[in-house]
Symmetry: C2
Subunit: 303 residues, 2 copies
């Protein structure tokens, strides 16, 4: 099953040349989930040939503009392009008022429904569960209410051992229950032991998205053992004071967090516009956590 | 004196690959004036190496998102980049409420002042006058309140005929008054006739910006004899019904308007996303008005 994330924007606060404000597109089993939506996200989707029309779920971490100013434009374009399928929006409550005011003054009545799921910045909660994944909020520590999001794959069905099934001439009608791990006792008394015909599926993976936040151990438990951790790394560690003041994280801290929570892979992003090149941020993180990658726009990362 | 306009966005409604929503940067005597501000305008300014920090005046025609969704991001970035100089915003009154709500929820107190000048969609008015130009609104006919803007250069000082001034050894102290067209009677009774020492300056030029609007003769008087007319041309004329329904103009109509008002040059833009190439729009307009050009992003047009 596909479980990967494409970076649409990796800049913090203000865009710089070739670095847009934050947005990511998670692909879970060929369904796209949009995480944050900075200005220009719809143009980035076009640029990378990703279909905005397929997005049904949009997650907004907080109401700093570099994380949501592109939302109104994306929703407007979907409307103008004839969308009728609802969209679920997960984010802080005022997002509704902000969107509705702008639709009012443009005299726009959306042809599709917006279904809001307001996030609680005080308590982690499951905000979405479907056949493919579970999404929980992560309570972050920023200047305004802010949550991250943890995406965990659902446990998959067991894998059939086709050669063994053929050898014993097991009818296909039995396959669905075997996939579900059931042992079958046939009318003649024979028992088909599930373990003989299937193997366990891949272990479900998880993706934790943490932007923007101060280094704060209270959320570490929620992202423990995640397969891929995206963590903001706005500054190099020599700017720790500035990071603390603005409630952001340094590259070194992001790496320490990845190490501390037992993440398998770390992606850093949300770079301050002061960094013309990013190699120093990467190198700093790697001193603590070797399996670190830079979030680069247009790149797709397997989780 | 420099009087030119750079196209930052030429798309209507929704962006398409390489065509952003509407925005233009007028340069009058090295001072930039931003006209409309669709999503991604700040990124376009970066791309074309134009300094957002130098903009003091922003004109918003109306509150359809493709003309203003980039404003909040641009203003936020200027704030984050340390701006303290006020910005004048000319546009429909609700723009204030929309901006203020978003600043409130992001807990942003701008370090500079926003000075609002609300446009009246019922009557054309002078909304800005300084040493370089006069800006008037143009009452357009769109689905929601909408004005265009006419930018007219101020009459320049007369040009000095330097060789004649040298020949007659005229002191430099006399130059400022000569530039202003004054005849001077000297203490010895000699008269310096202005016409002997100066020539007329270039005739002031005007730029009329008309987007979005139905073809409506009521505004033609206001754009009469303009040097450069930017007029929206959302559709080809075979889609006239759709143009009328959505209160837009066809390329043919834009050319008819240019011809009817005696414009010297026409720039068309605000293309529907349905047009993958633009040559047909240009050719259609040229059948009526030869001196037509396509608005192309990054291109600068002398007025």
């Amino acid at each position: 099953m596909k479980f990967e994330v494409t970076i649409l924007g990796c800049s913090s606060a203000t865009p710089v040349f070739n670095r847009n404000p934050t947005a990511q597109l998670l692909n879970c089993n060929e369904k796209p989930y949009l995480i944050d939506c900075g200005e220009g996200t719809q143009q980035q989707l076009i640029k990378f040939n990703l279909k905005a029309a397929k997005i049904d779920h949009i997650f907004i971490s907080h109401l700093h503009g570099d994380h949501y100013f592109g939302l109104i434009g994306l929703l407007s374009s979907l409307h103008l392009n004839g969308r009728i399928k609802p969209i679920h929006i997960y984010g802080p409550e005022p997002i509704k008022e902000i969107l509705e005011m702008q639709f009012k003054y443009s005299d726009t009545t959306l042809k599709y429904e917006l279904i809001y799921h307001f996030t609680d910045c005080n308590a982690s909660k499951i905000i979405l569960e479907n056949n493919d994944l579970v999404v929980e909020t992560i309570v972050l520590n920023h200047r305004i209410p802010c949550t991250g999001f943890k995406f965990t794959e659902k446990k998959r069905l067991r894998k059939l051992l086709n050669s063994k099934l053929e050898e014993d001439q097991i009818p296909v009608e039995y396959f669905p229950l075997l996939k579900r791990g059931v042992d079958l006792t046939l009318p003649n008394g024979n028992v088909l032991l599930n373990a003989d015909y299937t193997t366990d599926s891949a272990v479900p993976k998880s993706y934790a998205y943490c932007s923007d936040t101060l280094y704060d151990e209270r959320y570490f438990d929620k992202i423990k053992n995640c397969d891929t951790l995206y963590h903001e790394a706005t500054f190099l560690h020599d700017m720790l004071d500035r990071a603390n003041e603005t409630h952001h994280t340094t590259a070194l801290q992001a790496a320490q967090i990845a190490s501390q929570v037992g993440a398998k892979k770390l992606i850093i992003g949300h770079y301050s516009s002061r960094y013309k090149t990013l190699i120093e941020l990467l190198e700093e993180a790697k001193t603590v956590f070797e399996n670190t990658q830079l979030a680069i726009e247009g790149n797709t990362y397997q989780i």
